[in-house]
Amino acid sequence: MAESLLAALVSLNGPGHYFHWHWIDISYANLTVIALMVVTFVAALFVPFPGRRHKKETK
């Protein structure tokens, strides 16, 4: 009972999956995290600051 309560909704404990290209060997999990980091960085550059359009900037 306790074990089923503690079990993950999505188990990632199965055999890992990897992307191979020449000498590059990276897990899809790491690729996903890196892609999310890149998306966050790009979003930080392009998404406007919250309230930027409304707040009056002071000199």
């Binding site: 503690l6 079990a7 990632l12 890992g16 060997d25 999990a29 890196i34 002071t58 000199k59």
Partner: protein
């Protein structure tokens, strides 16, 4: 002489805005906490079972016995590693600098004593084991070497049948009984306990069982299956499908390319490169060219695009 445009920067005369770092920090903390708890609830965490000497000796008894023999005859990885475990070799060195040797054998490991003789001595005595240990401890170094050499010579024909390790030789003195008893001890789980508890009351020092496991092939084979070897970018991997230490990509990258991929001193060489690169990063504001990259890439104009647009208008 004109000053560098990276150093001589005009003071900011544009608009300013209030900034509440406490508010921003609190929001960041709450968002990260919600993400952490949410992801932990959905995905939990890696749950690979611990690898033990008992498991190793049960699943690969010959590999275990051959490794125990390597600890006895001094050919194991640990026996030949050098500092910090012994003085058998110079250890890792950076060019002419024998860094590991300078630091010395700070965690002394005598593979014969720590992996074989001491654990066997801790075992409940049986007549055969007591006799073998008495014979071993009373023999000269030359005699011990002769026994171990005879066993090593015949070890290519080692077999494991009905829980017993056999090697076709009669010239190995007490060595067959010692190896066989160690195998049985390992399969019962007693060796795991004996190797850990040698360090004292608290059983949190796993140095000896880890070194013993690493000297065999079993642990390496498991690591290879899970993509955890150094040659598989293992430093940045986690077991299963969990994301690992992606931020270590540069550290493990060097191990994949020559000359580091074939160097016996790759550990200290890669460490040296990373220290050098870290120093470069720390000194970016003082390095001409490197410090100009933000000015050349003009990413700042994207961030403050409203200001520059207004300025251009």
């Amino acid at each position: 002489m004109s000053e560098s445009p990276d150093v001589k920067v005009a003071p900011w005369t544009g608009p300013q805005r209030p900034y509440d770092i406490i508010k921003e920090g609190t929001i960041a903390f709450v968002v990260v906490a919600i993400l952490t708890i949410g992801l932990a609830l959905v995905f939990s965490s890696p749950d690979d079972p611990q690898v033990t000497v008992q498991q190793w000796s049960t699943k690969a008894p010959i590999d275990f016995a051959q490794t125990a023999l390597a600890e006895l005859n001094g050919t194991s990885g640990t026996a030949q590693y050098g500092a910090p475990y012994n003085t058998a070799s110079s250890g890792q060195q950076l060019g002419p600098f024998t860094l590991a040797k300078w630091l010395g054998a700070t965690i002394p490991v005598n593979t014969v004593r720590d992996f074989v003789v001491d654990p066997l001595t801790d075992q409940p005595a049986t007549p055969a084991l007591s006799s073998a240990l008495t014979q071993w401890k009373g023999a000269s170094a030359t005699q011990r070497t002769a026994w171990v050499d005879a066993y090593t010579k015949a070890s290519g024909k080692m077999t494991f049948t009905n829980g017993t390790v056999s090697v076709p030789t009669n010239a190995a003195g007490p060595v067959p009984v010692m190896i066989n008893t160690l195998e049985q001890m390992a399969r019962s789980g007693a060796l795991d306990q004996a190797l850990v508890t040698q360090s004292g009351f608290y059983t949190s020092n796993f140095t000896l069982p880890l070194l013993f496991l690493a000297d065999g092939s079993y642990l390496g084979d498991l690591a290879q299956q899970r993509h955890l070897l150094g040659t598989q970018w293992g430093m940045m991997n986690e077991t299963g499908n969990y994301p690992g230490q992606a931020w270590l990509w540069l550290y493990t990258f060097w191990y994949q390319v020559p000359p580091f991929s074939t160097s016996a001193n790759a550990d200290v060489q890669v460490w040296g490169i990373m220290m050098l690169l870290s120093l470069l990063l720390l000194l970016v504001p003082f390095i001409p060219g490197l410090r100009s990259i933000p000015r050349w890439t003009r990413v700042y104009r994207l961030i403050w695009r409203d200001h520059y647009r207004a300025q251009g208008a």
